[in-house]
Symmetry: C2
Subunit: 140 residues, 2 copies
């Protein structure tokens, strides 16, 4: 998924393409760690100096709505966003540097069915997130 594709998505959904949006999109799309609105602001302003923080918020909102980014929940806070994975995926976060990796292939069907039976709940969704140290942080 490239920044151009995100811009196309925005355009196809009736949103205009502006320098502000391009700067935000390019910044968020290429990041391999979750960024807060202020972090996006600081980075994106290198591409487009006049950018306002309000526009960052507004653009992140639209990208989330189009499922191009997703909010990342962490013990330290839940304001950061990362480029969303393809299809059903989960996050693996480095507790040291914040690096984000995606994974899939989790099979929770058996567990889900067992819990549903015991609890009486009808289970429709799950959140799974792994934490640890990335290869780089592990060696250093």
């Amino acid at each position: 998924m490239t920044a151009e594709l995100w811009l196309t998505q925005l355009h196809e959904n009736g949103y205009r393409l502006t320098d502000a949006r391009r700067a935000v999109v390019e910044t968020v799309e290429k990041s391999t760690r979750a960024l807060t609105p202020v972090e996006v602001y600081d980075l994106a302003r290198r591409k487009y100096r006049a950018l306002g923080l309000v526009t960052v918020y507004r653009t992140l909102e639209k990208l989330e709505e189009l499922h191009l980014i997703q909010r990342v929940h962490q013990p330290q806070g839940c304001q950061a966003f990362i480029s969303a994975g393809q299809g059903h995926q989960h996050l693996l976060l480095c507790k040291n540097c914040g690096q984000v990796a995606f994974f899939d292939g989790d099979d929770l069907d058996a567990l889900t069915r067992a819990i549903a039976r015991k609890s009486g709940y009808q289970i429709t969704e799950h959140w799974l997130q792994l934490f640890g140290l990335c290869a780089d942080c592990r060696t250093q």
Copy 2:
């Protein structure tokens, strides 16, 4: 786990027992759904009218530090707290009424090892949360 036990825990950790704390503890301990600070404030003020919202924040902070409560992350927000389960447990949340149930018995070892091998990460923790409809909300 009863409210009395929580108060004992607080006392044993050097915290004084006050009417304000008793009201907060009794409110949070008996709730089966996650409560935000303001919700705790509103409910606890029925027991202790003079309670201040600041004290709710301060008490929740201490209860979290003693692992008696835990923060609940949800799509709508991450400011709510629920009584913490015993040992390693996970949450099952009703999307309709907010009812919280705990479960354990999840076995993610195989998955964790597979992801660790593929990704190069050293995995130390996991978050797992199930969402659905509780028995009550399912029938109604």
